[in-house]
Symmetry: C2
Subunit: 590 residues, 2 copies
């Protein structure tokens, strides 16, 4: 029995009506595809003109016309295969690996209508850099039994984004059990920010490769472009290194919770096809610990200090503690090997994250190895002496990484830390070599100092973009440190240009590379990963891709729809509203 | 390669050691089974004595000796089949519907050791009531190649709890790829509270039958005993009624989001085998709306008022509005039919929830049907007049339900509401007929009044037991109304007896039937259901089953283990701490 309800687009929103005696009503999905200036596109493109008609088709009648250089042909084909899979996923009874049980359409033309995708690309780029032009143009035209969608882009990455946009001009037709696509559209699109990231911490808790891939796929559906992999920390060392197998042997939570080189390479390639850079972070000199317990018995001496030392409150910000032993030169031997392997796994490297946050001076200053070495080298034991030594460590790390990367220097990212504090940053970090990732609040005056000193920055201010906030504490009672929870509205409204303007009087569009939401994993593992990241990650994505002048309230209807799309795409996102709000646009207001 | 780490129980906690040269180390799982007075039992039994040894076995060598009346034989067998399935689930590579790939044990005795379960039951009870004795005794003894676990209980429900407890004396042996069970134990156990519930709201968002069953199964692993099904509300009407098919036709979110009678009956039976009462709530006279739009065209007149009326703020607490039309006697016709069907689906009914919360007088008082009817019946339009009329409605509802239930009267539960406010409750609700479910805070003086007037109560005070709190708002920005998030510590420490003692000077153990956590579903659907409920639902369960004098901190190690067990059991619970804390008991302290 067909639904008693139908929809009509009125003043940019889909209004529900009883079907009886009312003409021109369509299904909710059909109404949403063509209602409002941006339909249900997410993130919002720069400009869009979308027709008001749709035509039905089946996913088997989709064809690719590829006008691209031979060198990117394979990437394009892989992306188009994903596109076809994603069309199948719109079916409510889609089963992964099996497909969808499309019935025979009752209207013959639906069975034969073709969606032809033409992709035009000139450039040869096959991996993302901060210079990659991700823009694209998309035209949809329908003539007779063929809808042609033409994507023109500078390179593969722009073209891939175009395919995602076509997917958003398509939806499932509830009554006819077919897909439908808008018959005409004209879109120009380009991201405002070059760097649009999501951090996943795989040390506090482990995440399977399957869950990482699922996350990357959902990122690609939102045109995010950087999966920042916080590989290791003091809690565990899940990365298997061929030259240093003891790191994972001693440091992984179990033999089932290890990333093997083949798997890491797979993730990097999985990301590339989806327009996503997989950026490794190897955090040092703090945030190390478990995994480093084997070095003494192997004759290298103690490379990590304060590992699991108690009481933890004296030596680190959370249990367990650990910090590299700068007094032992063998750390550079081991660090060099780690970088060698990372450079081979995350190839080609275009950015690297050194971590570099939350060094605890009391750890070093209460460890004889360090204090006697400092004295032997004619240093005092003041904070500034330690910072200087830390910066020496940082410089050596940079050289080791460059050497590991076949002497190709890549920009390094570091967290804001003691080294970037007021008046200190330019002593220790060169603004041509380092990008600073800001994790303090959006009101931190340090942001102004960094921008005024011409540092390129990435925003991850915790008061908006830390996705782990707002649950119970994990040491003691009460709530976790960065509570309360950051609702999607807060995530959406966090505009880096506005923050800069507010603090410095300039939007600093040249220096702000973009932003990143962070999922630190003290209190999440893959069981609830999806709900922590999605759909809030989509709110981040529109802020970074489109950076609209408007706030969350303009985006709400499209956002709720994008949440549903992510569910179809295979993740388990949090629900934002009752389904009634989705079916009655604009009525869940305050 | 075996892990370099091993464990030893020291002062009631499992301490991690490097394996080299240390004797007597065991795996983490083995250590936890036998360390501390309660091992990893959850909820904590009344008394337990657990041996320090384990013996390995394979789940295929498990046998049942059933000494029970014929009438409960089938239930016992079904519960034992579940027990065997749950043993399989301990394997890290268990696949639902397939089982686990056990390897051939390297130690021959592990391949043949038998776990024999003897179940002794006298009583014939086959469904839960508030009088059911859920206690049980459990003895484990090992002689030679056989471990015998003897459960003695008054009835099936106690015996079933005993099987859950045996499961918690078993765990997976990482090194040997077998199960292991403690060789000896002696446990007496009985719940402190009779009513231990979880509410799921399936109206704001829809939850599949599969997700409901998954929730019930996880409840059974925690010895909770009541799944309170908030079936309908103003947002949607997902229950298919044979005599009133229009309710779901007009009121369900889609034809795929409907509970069919066969499915509901399946859920009731699914619960019974797991020791869980499935308690229906049909909320009225407020919290109705969508689904009632067909009555006028069928000649019954308007049965629901203010349905989706705007601005919603004037007529209800959240969009969309709706309230029954007490002026139209046909509501009793329809309500009677609804109750008839509910009584047949949730059979045998031992409790019924009438809802009865959040009536908005302005809705009635701005509706001509109601106001003219009130005047015609010589009533004023004062609040008290409306309350009196509401109580008439409630009394008629009670009579209709009793009649639908073959004239068998069952206790009715109602929410605290205007009818239960200061000085009012005994005018409107008889304390021999109604149980009051408290959803205000744990400091509400109303609680004292209800107890002093001898009402039986169930605690669901929102400041501890509302699981939906602590996310972004869904109308407007900011956070949702009952923020912040209730961490597991808060859930655990909410002791109804202490609340009563604090407010009245008496613990009122006779009147406090128990408690219930509520998952209102404005901002959750089945995608993130598990993480909202678990493991916090387990914290609730120990409070209600054991009601320990101690607080969360004593329970922390067992709680973290129970979270892992729920994961193995098939739900996706939130993670509470880094896995490091699980592997290093007691070191994530403050």
């Amino acid at each position: 029995m067909p639904s008693p309800w139908g929809y009509r687009c009125t003043n940019g929103r889909c209004v529900k009506h009883l079907n009886t005696g009312v003409t021109g009503l369509v299904t909710l999905n059909q109404c949403k595809l063509t209602c409002g200036p941006f339909g249900v596109l997410w993130p919002r493109p720069q400009t869009a003109s979308i027709g008001t008609e749709v035509v039905q088709f089946l996913p088997r009648n989709v064809a690719l016309v590829s006008k691209v250089p031979e060198q990117v042909e394979t990437l394009i084909k892989e992306a188009f295969d994903l596109f076809k899979d994603n069309l199948e996923k719109y079916h409510p009874y889609y089963v992964a690996g099996v497909g969808a049980p499309w019935s025979v359409p009752w209207e013959p033309s639906s069975a034969t209508h073709t969606l032809q995708v033409v992709i035009k690309v000139r450039g040869l780029e096959s991996y993302l850099t901060l210079q990659t032009d991700e823009s694209y143009q998309l035209q949809l035209v329908t003539v007779g039994q063929v809808t042609t969608a033409t994507i023109s882009a500078q390179n593969f990455f722009g073209a891939r984004h175009g395919l995602e946009t076509i997917l958003q001009l398509v939806d499932y037709h509830e009554i006819c059990d077919t897909l439908m696509v808008v018959t005409s559209a004209s879109i120009y699109d380009s991201p405002v920010f070059k760097y649009r990231g999501l951090l996943l911490d795989t040390s506090r808790n482990f995440f399977s490769i399957a869950s990482i891939k699922r996350t990357i796929d959902a990122m690609s559906a939102n045109k995010l472009n950087t999966f920042h992999w916080h590989l290791t920390d003091s809690h565990s060392f899940p990365l298997y290194l061929k030259s240093l197998p003891n790191m994972a042997y001693y440091g992984a939570y179990s033999s089932r919770q290890i990333y093997h080189p083949k798997e890491v390479k797979e993730v990097v390639q999985y990301g590339r096809v989806r327009g996503i850079r997989v950026l490794p972070e190897f955090d040092a000199p703090a945030h190390v610990g478990n995994g480093w317990q084997w070095t003494e018995q192997q004759g290298l001496g103690k490379l990590a200090l304060c590992v699991n030392r108690e009481p933890w409150q004296s030596y680190c910000v959370e249990p367990p503690c650990g910090q590299l032993n700068l007094a032992n030169p063998n750390i550079y031997l081991v660090l060099g090997q780690i970088y060698q392997e990372i450079a081979k796994l995350f190839t080609p490297l275009d950015l690297f994250h050194y971590g570099g946050d939350e060094v605890n001076l009391n750890c070093w200053n209460t460890t004889t190895e360090m204090t006697s070495w400092m004295k032997f080298n004619n240093r005092n034991l003041s904070a500034d002496d330690y910072y200087r030594q830390w910066s020496v460590f940082q410089e050596k790390s940079r050289q080791l990484l460059t050497s590991a990367n076949n002497d190709v220097e890549v920009p390094g990212i570091v967290w804001t830390s003691h080294l970037t504090e007021k008046g200190r940053v330019d002593q220790y970090l060169n603004n041509t070599q380092y990008i600073i990732q800001i994790w303090s609040t959006g009101e931190d005056p340090l942001i102004a100092e960094l921008l005024n000193k011409n540092y390129q920055v990435i925003f991850s201010n915790y008061d908006a973009w830390y996705l782990d906030c707002g649950v119970g504490a994990w040491v003691g009672a009460g709530h976790n440190w960065c509570s309360p929870y950051k609702g999607w509205q807060k995530v959406y409204d966090n505009n880096p240009h506005d923050i800069a303007l507010n603090l410095t009087g300039s939007a600093h569009k040249d220096l702000i590379l973009g932003g990143e939401a962070a999922l630190w994993s003290e209190q999440v593992d893959e069981a609830s990963l999806d709900a922590k990241v999605w759909p809030r990650g989509a709110a981040l994505a529109e802020r970074l891709w489109s950076n609209p002048l408007t706030d969350w309230s303009e985006a709400e209807h499209r956002f709720i729809h994008q949440r549903q799309r992510l569910l179809q795409r295979g993740v388990l996102p949090e629900r934002i509203q009752p389904e009634w709000c989705h079916q009655n646009e604009g009525l869940c207001y305050i």
